[in-house]
């Protein structure tokens, strides 16, 4: 059941109750979780948080913690799977789900008693009509029941009529089934993302008049993470930013600023156009330009010509090479202050029209000043750290911590990790292109990250592998500029666990699709390909286009995928 009035139908229901919070491993979920925690702290609602990385985790966490608990809140998980079927809960258990994964599983939509979906009222769902997809079984049974009640003598007499009626009914049923199949196919074909969970939660906080700058910043971080993972298109991002900017102005522009300035230690958020350059404020401009997908792919930095072009670009800006390789924070003040304007002007000449996006930055104290893009990158890097001494749950907790101001130091660790990750990604893209390892299979391109390369460990994490995939696809398309390749999707695999012989597989939709709607058809395709060939795959991730597979089954899986997509 979809819920629009989240305050009345969700918050007022769980107040003074004990709640189980199941949170998935992504930045948006962490931010939404932080906001909800803040609300729970205000109202003394006791809770337990458990991190869940996939469906198996979800099942286990529910079994372990749900005893005596009636209220389960799920953040960015559970929406696109049939929960009642998976978890077999007691009848008194109610699930409140705030999940940006789309499409929502229809059994969740049409369950009125136990599954409540917290959604943004502005979202569109294109839900099929109830009677088109769910057959009222009872009425059927009633009919058959009546039939058998009739005396057998009578029945024989009406045989022909009943037979005709039965035939008619069967025909209708078949039609209905076909219709349902078509509707379901249309509904399920693409996986995509709706409004960020953190925005839904922030909206609740605002309606409860408990929103503060801290909560607002988390909402901003959550939304920004959706942008960098390309989960939403630019249009949706801009409209959400506009919405958030209203709150930013409300919280950060109090009358006569000069007369009563806020304390330095208070949090201040401001709206700024921000360059889409990865971590440039915490790196050098040169490195950042090299490691950002947009600039690296547009300038074709994989070739000598491209590298020359980068130098030209810097020269055009009037920035000495030595300065651009300097740590950004140590750059001459004159350059540092102007670099954003110069870069934007020069970018237009080099075909980098979309280099800046509307974004926000935050400041508290003298030392801490961050822009939303960098924070979103850093938190994601902590989540996907490849440090083997840390379990998935520990990484989750660390990432959760770094969002609070008390543990802000951990964010710095995240920034460093993110740099390492991006270097790994760029090196991998370079070697895939150099070795011509991006191959066309006909209906799609594919690339295997070979085992044992120095950076390959980074790609055992789904988000990082998807970043690699998007980066590779864009680089490939822009480098070869073949008309045909432009509309091809890409499948990337990377070794996950060498000893168990498993690989991680992700599917990246074609670039135009990625830019405009961020829809992905690989979820369904992977499922069908695995089914047809009996490949040993695990569809555990909440994102359906991420699959774990036995490495030895790869070729038959790919064969099936080719014939499926042709």
């Amino acid at each position: 059941m979809l819920i629009n009035d989240i305050r009345l139908q969700f918050y007022d229901k769980i107040i003074h109750k004990r709640v189980l919070l199941l949170v998935s491993h992504d930045v948006d979920a962490l931010c939404a979780c932080k906001i909800l925690q803040a609300l729970f702290h205000c109202d003394h609602i006791q809770y337990t948080i458990v991190a869940v990385a996939g469906k198996q985790d979800l099942e286990r966490a529910f079994l372990e913690h749900s005893e005596q608990l009636e209220f389960v809140v799920m953040i960015n998980c559970g929406g696109n799977i049939d929960l009642i079927e998976l978890l077999q809960p007691e009848e008194n258990v109610v699930f409140y789900i705030c999940d940006s994964h789309r499409p929502i599983h229809l059994n969740n939509v049409f369950n009125d008693s136990q599954v409540k979906m917290l959604v943004n009222s502005g979202d569109e769902f294109n839900l099929p009509a109830y009677e088109d997809v769910i057959r009222n079984e009872e009425s059927d049974e009633d009919d058959s029941g009546n039939e058998s009640d009739e005396p057998s003598g009578k029945r024989r007499r009406f045989d022909e009529a009943t037979l005709e009626r039965k035939m008619e009914k069967r025909r209708k049923r078949r039609e209905w089934e076909q219709n349902k199949e078509r509707i379901m196919y249309d509904y399920d074909e693409f996986s995509f993302y709706g409004t960020a969970a953190s925005l839904v939660m922030y909206d609740l906080a605002w309606k409860l008049s408990k929103d503060t700058n801290d909560l607002l910043w988390w909402a901003i971080t959550g939304l920004t993470s959706q942008l960098i993972a390309k989960r939403i298109d630019r249009e949706k991002y801009v409209s959400d930013v506009t919405e958030l900017n209203r709150h930013v102005s409300r919280h950060n522009h109090r009358g006569n600023e000069d007369e009563c300035p806020l304390s330095v230690n208070s949090m201040k958020i401001s709206f700024v156009p921000e360059l889409q350059l990865t971590l440039y404020k915490h790196w050098s401009l040169f490195e950042s330009l090299r490691h950002s997908a947009y600039t690296a792919c547009t300038l074709k930095l994989w070739t000598l010509k491209g590298q020359k072009k980068l130098n030209e670009f810097l020269a055009d800006m009037g920035l000495p090479l030595a300065q651009s390789k300097q740590k950004f924070s140590a750059m001459d003040v004159e350059f540092k202050d102007n670099v954003k304007d110069w870069l934007e002007t020069s970018a237009k000449k080099f075909g980098l029209d979309n280099i800046s996006v509307p974004s926000f930055q935050v400041q508290f104290g003298f030392k801490h000043k961050y822009c939303a893009l960098d924070v979103a990158f850093a938190v994601d890097a902590l989540l996907e750290s490849v440090n083997t001494s840390k379990s998935a749950e520990e990484r989750f907790m660390e990432a959760l911590d770094c969002l609070s101001r008390t543990y802000i130091d951990k964010l710095e660790d995240g920034l460093d990790l993110c740099k390492q990750q991006m270097m790994g990604v760029v090196n991998q893209v370079q070697s895939l292109l150099d070795m011509k390892k991006v191959v066309s299979a006909g209906p799609f391109l594919y690339a295997f990250v070979p085992d044992g390369t120095p950076g390959s460990k980074f790609f055992s994490r789904p988000n990082c592998l998807m970043t690699l995939g998007r980066f590779t696809l864009e680089a490939y398309v822009k480098l070869y500029n073949r008309r045909k390749a432009r509309n091809l999707p890409l499948v990337v695999t990377a070794p996950l666990d060498f000893e168990n012989g498993t690989s991680l597989v992700v599917g990246i939709p074609p670039l135009p699709e990625l830019e405009q709607a961020s829809r992905n058809f690989f979820g369904k395709a992977f499922e069908q390909a695995a089914e047809k060939t009996g490949s040993r795959t695990l569809h555990d991730n909440f994102e359906p286009s991420v699959v774990i597979m036995r490495t030895e089954d790869r070729s038959k899986f790919f064969d099936a995928l080719i014939s499926l997509l042709q």
Binding site: R18, H41, H65, D401, Y407
Partner: protein, 196 residues
């Protein structure tokens, strides 16, 4: 030199890390006691000699010196035992009536007995307060919040809260619980307090 062993005991206790109890040094204590009894015997002999013969006043200063050493040994021993008891007493407030095994193993038999008696008197005193008793070991510093955020550092299993419901404390789960209930578990190292 006389008194060195006794000083050694004191230093050992002083060097121990805050909030820990070093093992009961039975050997050291025995050595100090032996030294003391040797001193006592020598003094006894000298005093007898002094009273039996004349012109033995020169012995007196030695007797004096030994006596001072003897008293010093006694003081050091008492200080050692007393300070250990103070530590053990503090632990009753910190950990409650059941001590972690590593601390228990470092206590002497008598200390264990003393601890049990102290624990019992404290418990019965706390029971006698008010109508239903009052746990004095809670909120030893003025509390700032009723509820706190805690993270589980190791698997503990089911934990019954004051309202009778169960919370499963599993490694790496995070909870928002009554401060008073978490305090003992935090002291035992099962939970970690998280700031918001």
């Amino acid at each position: 030199m006389y008194g060195d062993k006794a000083l050694e005991l004191i230093l050992e206790l002083k060097r121990a890390a805050e909030g820990s109890l070093p093992p009961y040094n039975e050997d050291g204590i025995r050595q100090v006691l032996e030294e003391t009894s040797v001193l006592y015997d020598q003094n006894q002999a000298d005093v007898l000699r002094e009273s039996s013969m004349t012109g033995a006043e020169s012995l007196l200063s030695a007797v004096q010196f030994r006596h001072t050493c003897l008293e010093r040994n006694q003081r050091c021993l008492l200080a050692y035992l007393h300070n250990r008891l103070e530590i053990i007493k503090e632990m009753r407030w910190e950990f409650g009536s059941v001590l972690p095994p590593d601390i228990k193993n470092n206590m002497s038999e008598q200390e264990s007995q003393w601890f049990n008696k102290y624990s019992k008197s404290l418990a019965s005193y706390m029971r006698s307060l008010g109508e239903e008793g009052l746990d004095l070991t809670q909120d030893r510093k003025p509390p700032k919040n009723l509820f706190i955020q805690v993270r589980c550092l190791r698997d503990f299993g089911e934990f019954e809260t004051e309202d009778g419901s169960m919370v499963v404390l599993k490694k790496n789960s995070q909870h928002f619980l009554l401060r008073s209930q978490c305090e003992p578990l935090i002291r035992q190292g099962i939970l970690e307090h998280i700031l918001s």
